[in-house]
């Protein structure tokens, strides 16, 4: 009798111990399963972010970035207020811009009030030329060449490709309101773009590509194809005499650029002496710039 009680008691204890063991194992298993789920979710999120980071920028994203870069350039240099000159630069710009392979965006042109001899292009088609660069031009075909080179950078998406290939930079792209003007994300991105294009310079290959596109658009627009090489020769001389330009500081040597452009012009049979350089028309509009200093 005593034995049976003990056995029964023993069985009861064994059953309880089994329940205890099962509960303990369940708790641990639940924790481990949760851990696995968390890790799987983290991996999925990471994969989605990488996928997004590698996706090409949309035209709207490009415009938002370009608009912010343009706003910073305007804030720093100030716009040059001359309605006649602005209209003229837009007419020349529209003439060469129409020859670009890239027509999914519009090209917008403005003059910046700076003595430095520079021209800038921001993603999305925002193109600037400084008063100093206009003063160095001798005719409309040179202005067309400079603007066409900048159109070439936008058409070739040179800046956009740099941004697209930087995963770290694009990692924050899915943040809400990332493209709102003045957002921390845009601030960071545009800072990087401006340092790249002004302080460091684009890759030499991108500059040569913009040159080739530039002479192509200028020629297709009806101007002599050599407007840009002629302008660059004067730029080289001007900077030797103390003129300020980031073009000569960050771009490949003018000699190399002009050599490549002249080779292309010869190869395509684009030497056409009869084409209009339009020095008179340029002089009439640009006379307001004479003696101007900021």
């Amino acid at each position: 009798m005593k034995r049976t009680n003990l056995l029964r008691r023993g069985l009861s204890v064994a059953q309880i111990l089994a329940v205890l063991a099962a509960l303990g194992a369940g708790t641990v298993a639940r924790g481990q399963f949760g851990d696995l789920l968390r890790k799987a979710k983290e991996k999925t999120d990471k994969a989605q972010k990488i996928q997004k980071a590698l996706a090409p920028m949309t035209v709207q994203e490009e415009r938002d970035v370009g608009r912010e870069v343009a706003a910073k350039l305007v804030a720093h240099f100030r716009p040059y207020k001359d309605d006649g000159l602005t209209r003229y630069v837009n007419l020349v710009g529209a003439t060469v811009g129409a020859q670009s392979e890239r027509q999914d965006i519009g090209y917008h042109f403005a003059v910046l009030d700076s003595d430095t001899i520079n021209a800038f292009s921001a993603p999305g088609g925002y193109i600037f030329i400084t008063r100093g660069a206009l003063q160095l031009c001798e005719d409309e075909s040179e202005l067309a060449g400079v603007l066409a080179h900048e159109v070439g950078h936008v058409a070739g998406k040179h800046v956009i490709h740099i941004v697209e290939h930087d995963k770290a930079l694009r990692a924050g792209m899915d943040e809400a309101k990332a493209y709102t003007p003045g957002s921390a994300y845009l601030q960071k991105m545009t800072q990087g773009i401006l340092v790249k294009i002004i302080d460091q310079g684009l890759a030499p290959g991108d500059e040569f590509d913009a040159d080739q596109r530039g002479i192509k658009y200028t020629h297709a627009a009806g101007y002599p194809a050599d407007g840009l090489p002629r302008f660059l020769t004067k730029l080289d001389q001007a900077t030797e005499q103390g003129g300020q330009s980031f073009w000569t500081r960050t771009h490949p040597p003018v000699k190399d650029r002009n050599q490549k452009m002249q080779q292309s012009i010869s190869a395509q049979h684009w030497e056409d002496a009869d084409r209009p350089k339009l020095a008179n028309r340029f002089a009439i509009v640009a006379k307001t710039l004479k003696g101007k200093k900021s």
């Binding site: 009680n5 029964r8 008691r9 009861s12 309880i16 329940v19 205890l20 509960l23 303990g24 708790t27 641990v28 924790g31 481990q32 949760g34 968390r38 608009r67 912010e68 343009a70 706003a71 910073k72 804030a75 720093h76 716009p79 602005t86 837009n90 007419l91 529209a94 003439t95 129409a98 020859q99 519009g106 042109f109 403005a110 925002y126 409309e140 740099i162 930087d166 995963k167 770290a168 930079l169 003007p181 921390a184 601030q187 960071k188 545009t190 800072q191 990087g192 401006l194 340092v195 790249k196 002004i198 302080d199 460091q200 297709a220 009806g222 101007y223 980031f246 209009p276 339009l278 028309r281």
Partner: protein, 124 residues
């Protein structure tokens, strides 16, 4: 007597569940937190090493982009012009100037007359 043992056993079960279960979960949470901290630390170190697109900022200014953001208003002495422009804070007037630039359009007949006056013969 039998009931007494069962009660004791149930008591032990309850005590183990109350005391042991949360400990196991807490230990797992701590382990997860340590994993997370380690992962954050690794990512920060990776960022420092790589620098990405903005490593250029460091090369030009001797500062990281994070530091630059902190000191954006602390002056631009010794900073490249591009970095200076990047630090500019556009006013609403500047943004309006860009909007005006975007909306500026040349009517097609005016563009055509401009090209004809210049004897330009565009391809398109």
């Amino acid at each position: 007597m039998k009931r007494r043992y069962r009660l004791i056993a149930l008591g032990v079960l309850w005590a183990v569940l109350v005391a042991g279960g949360p400990r196991v979960l807490r230990a797992q949470d701590q382990s997860q937190q340590q994993d997370q901290q380690q992962s954050d630390k690794d990512q920060k170190e990776k960022k420092k090493k790589k620098g990405g697109f903005f490593s250029g900022l460091k090369a030009v200014t001797g500062q990281s982009s994070e530091q630059q953001e902190d000191t954006a208003t602390a002056g631009t002495k010794g900073v490249g012009e591009g970095a200076q422009i990047g630090n500019a804070t556009p006013s609403s007037a500047d943004r309006q100037a860009v909007s005006a630039m975007e909306s500026y359009s040349i009517p097609p007949p005016d563009l055509k007359k401009f090209q004809e006056d210049g004897r330009l013969q565009p391809v398109k």
